[in-house]
Symmetry: C2
Amino acid sequence: MIFDRERTGHMDQYITEHTERFMGELARLVAVPTVAAQHRGVEEGARLTAALLETYGYTAEILSVEGGNPVVVAGARAGAGASRKARPGGGRAPVLLFYNHYDVQPAEPVELWDSDPFTLTRRGDRWFGRGVSDDKGHIISRLLALEAVKSAWGGELPLDVKFVIEGEEEVGSLHMPAFVHAHRERLAADACIWEFGGVDHNGRPQEVLGLRGICYVELSVKTADHDAHSGLGGSIFPNAAWRLVWALASLKGPDERIRIPHHADHVRSPDSRDLELLAAMPEEADDLRTRYGVTSFLKGMTGGVELRREQVMVPTCTICGLSSGYEGPGSKTVLPAVARAKVDFRLVPDQTPEEVLANLRAHLDAGGFADVEITQLGGDRPARTDPDHHFIRLALDAARDAYGLEPVVGPMSGGSGPAHPFTDELGLPVTMCGIGYPGGSVHAPNEHIVLQHFVDGTRHAARIVDAFALAS
Amino acid sequence: MIFDRERTGHMDQYITEHTERFMGELARLVAVPTVAAQHRGVEEGARLTAALLETYGYTAEILSVEGGNPVVVAGARAGAGASRKARPGGGRAPVLLFYNHYDVQPAEPVELWDSDPFTLTRRGDRWFGRGVSDDKGHIISRLLALEAVKSAWGGELPLDVKFVIEGEEEVGSLHMPAFVHAHRERLAADACIWEFGGVDHNGRPQEVLGLRGICYVELSVKTADHDAHSGLGGSIFPNAAWRLVWALASLKGPDERIRIPHHADHVRSPDSRDLELLAAMPEEADDLRTRYGVTSFLKGMTGGVELRREQVMVPTCTICGLSSGYEGPGSKTVLPAVARAKVDFRLVPDQTPEEVLANLRAHLDAGGFADVEITQLGGDRPARTDPDHHFIRLALDAARDAYGLEPVVGPMSGGSGPAHPFTDELGLPVTMCGIGYPGGSVHAPNEHIVLQHFVDGTRHAARIVDAFALAS
């Protein structure tokens, strides 16, 4: 694909000139602590997001969700002049859907941040704050990219644009499948740009063609009304912490094999195209080890296709948190009445959160752990996009042009998200593009973005929009 | 044993008349948050305790302990007049040693207290505050009992009194064995009154003739420099929480059997006298179930000797706390780099904390858990006193006289304490007596004592002192 140098030059310049202004918009979004897990700032975050979209010419609406956080839906039609220019022979303007989210991960542990997590703070060429990358910075980058496209097309959009910006992505997007189903006509589109993306640790743009699913649960046990003195009850009272430990140990053993019967019944093995893509990916093993201070990988893996396949194309069962009894310094001789664990199952095609949950319940019951309660805190089905779809080829060409580098293409991401309703309900090809990088401490203290990544990711998005307006 | 009605009447009246004043002293002790586990208030607590003892005529000294909290050692000699009266034929005055501690358990969870834990607060016939029972109230009760004895003996002590008041009982008294050994001549005595005691849930005085030992450890695992996104690392990075869960599950299974090889090698079975004492104890099963809201006991036990034996005369392995990763509300998709558990082993004769620790290390290493670090946070050997020792008979007679009820005699307590150096190094018979009751929320929020228990426990202590002065 050959890009129009006049328009790309115009867009790139526009992006450079207006980045500072859009960082001001980002600061306003970051200042609202939209922590879905803690039920903070959600309504205000939705209102601010809708207002921002309206400022840039989109018709925005806040749709409430029964039992969930509101979703901002917005859109704008292609301008008549730009449309005629893009499609001299006439025809319907293509529709591009942007999926993003206004909620963020908790800022805890707050004491490990070098600046206030909810104050956008620049240090050198970096901007710090909760959500600057995941995902408020991406919302801002999309808006800037679209403004750049408009500017290059004579002040009009050359295609129809839709936004769906939800507020529960960081707590599992439990309501997104039903929401998309209910609004499938309103959200109908030809292609979708996903909420994240960016460069790998070598600065190469990344394209990821799928997302693992997730089933996130809290397991809890209550064995008594209140804690007992451990000297009194140690050998006669049930202990919630022990019950939880034994239940957890029954889920997965030190061999890393998930022991829940039927858990892997619907796991589809990677096909030859997946393996080809995995083989073409760069080696990241040393970088991963260094970055996390991990001495070795699980199961004796050292790198290569084996490690990359294991990282993204197998089901996982991860303890994300444990809590029971006395957790302070020193000792306290207490027998806990309550214990809790957060457990995250990542799913690959064709697993579903529903079957994972049912199998988990059956397994605990069969193992004598009917006393372990399961609360589902999140669930997404896995989703894939065909690596050879024309929209993906267009997005990869756009990446080559924006970055001047060959993109790294992965068949799946290790992470999750509610892409399944978009790929399967709406039938859309989904591409990733964006402003992140592996060192950005997403989900961790000192989340940040780098100026150049923001500019490059925005230029990439602008090229996708520009090329897609012409491609249909 | 017949008690001198004139002296017991005098003592009882003294105690009633001076209880209010001694509650004022207790308020001063409670106000210093001597939380050994949190390294708070220890020096100030020791100074205040020593000053209090000096106020009542004891020579007190604060002895520092290498790597530990200071110990207050105090004493007073028998007065010449009282001595002549107690032993008309002459002879050495007997020496009674009081063991107590000025440190307290952490107040957490503070939000569950109905009044500030470090402000002695009266509501009705109860006094609330951290340490009012365990153990500051006992220090105050001992002092008042001795004042009452002095008053009944013409202003003089009829025997020699020694105090040893340590500051690490709630964190395992790690330095007490070496301290007692180093100061064995200074602490030499004929009998010892232990730090606690009181009535059972029916108001009957309790005598317990031994303490289980303890080995309290923190198990910790670190698998990386920092937490990872669970989507990134779930199937390739070691997970500290999983490592900990598997290590813990290897220690004890749902059958409650401790799986550490050689753990029970030196367990002495209860003898016929122990079983006789256990059989004579009242049934507490229903009370225990109700009080803690526990639906059933472990191993199908329902009560009787079986339950009482299991409660105090077997080794235990109790998880007291678990902590790892994200513990807040909702979900966070994080792969923890660090995990910690607090584990409390209760020991019976002739187990030792040293062998428990060595066997635990060997077991973890053999099971592939060399990465699990063990930090010992407390250790006491188990200790016993002969149920038929004349000092115990005297203490039981004193209980009958003070309470007007037959005491409940247990061969062992489920709890622990550093009694071993006193029973074995100093060769002392040890009796319990005191002001506590099972509903007093010791080690829990809203720790409290009841006025009548304080008065009765103090009268009991005064009778023991009075009778022991005459018994030698």
